[in-house]
Amino acid sequence: MEANAGVIERDDFCSLAPIGWLHHKMQDSFFLVVGTGSCQGFLQTALGVMIFAKPRFATAVLDEDDLGGADPLDGLRPIVAAIVAEHAPRAIFLASTCTPEILKMNVAGCAPPLEAEFGVRVYPCRLDGFDAAYTQGEDHVLQSMIARSPETDAKNLVILGCLSALEEAEIRIECAAMGLPEPAFLPGESALDVPPLGPNTVLASAHPYLFAAAAYAQRERGCPLHKSIFPYGPDGTRAFYETLAAAFGKTVSYAEREREAWAALASQTAPLRDKTIVFCSDAMLELPLARTLRAAGARVPVVGTPNIYKKFHAAEIATLGDVEILERPDRFVLFDRLAALAPDLVVANLNIANPLEGMGFAVKWSTELTFQPIHGFSGASTLFGMFAATLRRHEALAARRARDGAPGAPIDLGFFHLAGSSR
């Protein structure tokens, strides 16, 4: 693993981004971000606020008084009053961002008095744009919910991570088939739904970016860290279910199920066989996706990923063998690898996807992977289909452009420097 020294330019987003899916999942929630106009600009740009009549997220924009050290509670009180009057949320997520962190402003400390005053649960969380991958915003939101979980000694099962109804249904059905307790999901449909946690709880994370929440549950509720690879692809799903069963003292084999699943995926995996795929750093999904693509027959020589937590990711890293893993890579270090490897497919986020396509690479935009239901056996078709479809499209279009002698040259800056002047 390469150290992250000498990073000059990074290509990832702000951890406010998960508000986009979390406020949809928890329909009775409101997300109040304490930050700058830039936080607000990110939310409206990234989450397309204009499509919502009454968005259930907003920014308390810090002014010069706040920067000068005013008590944040005084500023937040009327804002929370307005939100409660307008939206009547059952819970408010009060998010501290970069600027309050720099100012050492005690945003979290405002949560208890606001909760007491307005009678609405207030979860303090930290969603900043420093080092966290954008998906880790979900991690910090879930951590704040776990802090309010009832304690229990029961042997219960909690699946950690925001999932679609389809993904939850598969896990529910498989747990019933294995004779495990009915799983609780965190987050659920309500922001007040926080399952009880304790030393006998099996708390399994469905996403690879929920280390802080899992570690917090371990520290504060004694939940053992669940050690498995993550349920992406038939290989990951099999291991995930078998590990769940083992945590309840059962031995279950999903070997035949995995074989069946791979067989059903043949048309999506065949185009990936022996193709070279490189992951640029984005959502922290890179390690498990590289693992299952390799299992499907692709070559993945290099994986960039924003943050690695050694214990939490140990099982995934163990599967990756000689794959070069670049933690929080510099943009140009990755570009040098791409130039040398000339991969068939590059997985990259929106910051660099079009420029990479302009450089001649076939690009799968990675942000989509966060929004699609790709978990489990039932999501594998969607997962591999996205990669296969991108490759097919790229190859088909390139062949037709070559046939017709029409290169489809990318837009460069010269395109804008026109105006019929003497140049």
Binding site: C14, T45, M50, T97, C98, E101, A169, D412, L413
Partner: protein, 510 residues
């Protein structure tokens, strides 16, 4: 603290970025947390750049909080080596301002010759400036930095001031003006910031006249160039056919050339004729509201009133500093001038006046649709739809034609609405019954999806599976239902439950 749900303007560092990155051979560096870096995504996505944009974020990290110095020099060296810009403009976001890092000091301590590019610290204030003021001021600062004494060009020439990357239809606007200037024999000395290089800026004083495309973006630069070189600028706004003619007449006078050739430039202009045609007669009874950037709002309001004879209910802008400017410009059109940066206040004005058409930004399009009022988008804030592949200018004669098309398209919809209101939806239903639905549109699970596939009612769904299907996004739900039923039929499964549905997803996707 102030509650913000949505803003018309981005923060100051975005204004600096748009201006600085638009100049040719310049690169912009923003000191900020990586979370502030979404301007590069907008550049890459909206402008569909197939190259890295000349904009970089020097990311603050947890290490910065712990006292580590900015690695600004390393980033400057990297950009210098890769891009060889003539200048690197450095600014910071509000978050970086709070940290009060001595960025100037870091740059000052770099060895002479360490980077070939000149390093320029933008003077805008990350909190007190806004997107527009930061854009306008940065453009002026960079012009001021390079401008040198130079003789006037022999033939009449202009600088076009205002267009930029992430601007509103700016490339097309420049092209539209260029066509008219070509017809008049007026040279373009420079377009800025869009594409103007330091060499262009050194000879910026050669132009006879300056032409702003948006006063709120160009004003400080216009003032500077008038003070420094005595260069006049055109006051008329090039919106509409008559407006463009007035604008060109003023320009011709300043260029000391005969105005007769304007007719050549105007030969493809059709807006005023369209307005005389019977199609457009109904426009006199139509009431409109206009809201956006001040120049666009003033220009569009005048076209609608003077050239199409529509009734203007209100005009407004979110550029608070330009309220008086706008009032003065539309004094003879309406007294109802709304100056606000709260989109809800504009929505209330739409609700109160219920105009037939709103001309506004993407936010007004959204607000107006809530009241069932059509909206033509004529100003930023933009949407990817405002970055069309084709040619869609808003200014000059071609822009006038485009505005006419927008009005026309919006009105056709309005008339259809009117017919439906008069005759009720029954009229629609009859047509729908009479005309065979295109097969591709149906996509219903009961319809055979392929030859040999028999439509049957043999597959039932249990309640849980129906609920789960309801959770599938609506736009793929029909396909998902068809896929699941096909899967079930092939395996003689009579009842679809959740497990069957998930198995089907696994095998056939969807």
């Amino acid at each position: 603290m102030k509650l913000a749900l949505w803003s018309y303007q981005a923060p100051a560092h975005v204004g600096v970025s748009k201006a600085a990155a638009s100049f040719g051979k310049l690169h912009c560096v923003v000191r900020a947390p990586k979370g502030d870096g979404y301007t590069t995504i907008m550049l890459a996505m909206f402008e569909r750049l197939g190259v890295l944009p000349p904009l970089s974020f020097c990311a603050m990290s947890e290490a910065t909080l712990a006292g580590a110095a900015a690695d600004l020099p390393a980033m400057l060296r990297e950009i210098d080596a890769r891009e060889s810009p003539e200048m690197i403009v450095v600014t910071r976001s509000a978050t970086a301002l709070v940290l009060q890092e001595p960025l100037d000091g870091e740059v000052a301590m770099m060895r002479p010759g360490d980077v070939k590019a000149e390093i320029f610290m933008a003077s805008t204030h990350p909190v007190r400036d806004n997107e527009l003021s930061a854009f306008a001021r940065t453009t002026r600062e960079i012009v001021e930095h390079y401008a040198a004494d130079t003789p006037r060009t022999e033939r009449p020439s202009v600088n076009i001031i205002g267009p930029s990357l992430l601007g509103f239809h700016d490339r097309a606007n420049v092209e539209s003006l260029r066509k008219s200037f070509d017809a008049l024999g007026i040279e373009i000395n420079a377009v800025l910031p869009l594409g103007a290089t330091p060499d262009d800026l050194r000879t910026i004083g050669r132009a006879w006249v300056n032409v702003p495309t948006a006063h709120e973006l160009a004003k400080p630069t216009l003032d500077y160039l008038r003070e420094r070189f005595g260069t006049p600028y055109v006051n008329e706004l090039p919106y509409g056919e008559a407006g463009t003619t007035r604008f060109l007449r003023e320009l011709c006078a300043l260029c000391e050339i005969p105005a007769e050739r304007i007719a050549v430039a105007a030969r493809d202009a059709k807006l005023l004729w369209y307005s005389r045609t019977v199609d457009a007669h109904a426009l006199s009874s139509k009431r409109v509201g206009v809201f956006g950037l001040p120049t666009a709002a003033a220009g569009i309001a005048r076209v609608l009133r003077d050239e199409l004879d529509m009734e203007v209910e209100f005009v407004g802008t979110y550029a608070l500093d330009y309220g008086d400017w706008l009032r003065e410009r539309v004094r003879d059109i309406t007294e109802n001038v709304i100056v606000t940066d709260d989109y809800r206040e504009v929505a209330r004005a739409i609700d109160r006046t219920r105009p037939d058409i709103v001309f506004g930004s993407q936010m007004e399009r959204h607000s107006a649709s809530g009241f069932g009022v059509p909206c033509a988008v004529v100003s930023p804030p933009s949407h990817i739809l405002n970055y069309p592949l084709g040619y869609a200018p808003f200014i000059g004669y071609d822009g006038a034609n485009h505005i006419g098309d927008l009005v026309n398209q919006t009105q056709v919809l309005g008339l259809e609405h009117h017919l439906i209101e008069t005759f009720g939806p029954r009229g629609q239903g009859r047509f729908a019954e009479a005309a065979p639905e295109p097969a591709a549109e149906r996509g219903d699970a009961r319809v055979p999806v392929a030859a040999g596939d028999v439509a049957t009612d043999d597959v039932r769904w249990d309640a849980a599976a129906e609920r789960l299907l309801g959770r599938v996004p609506f736009f793929v739900r029909k396909k998902a239902r068809a896929n699941v039923e096909k899967y079930a039929r092939e395996r003689n499964i009579a009842v679809v439950d959740e497990a069957v549905m998930l198995r089907a997803r696994e095998h056939v996707g969807g």
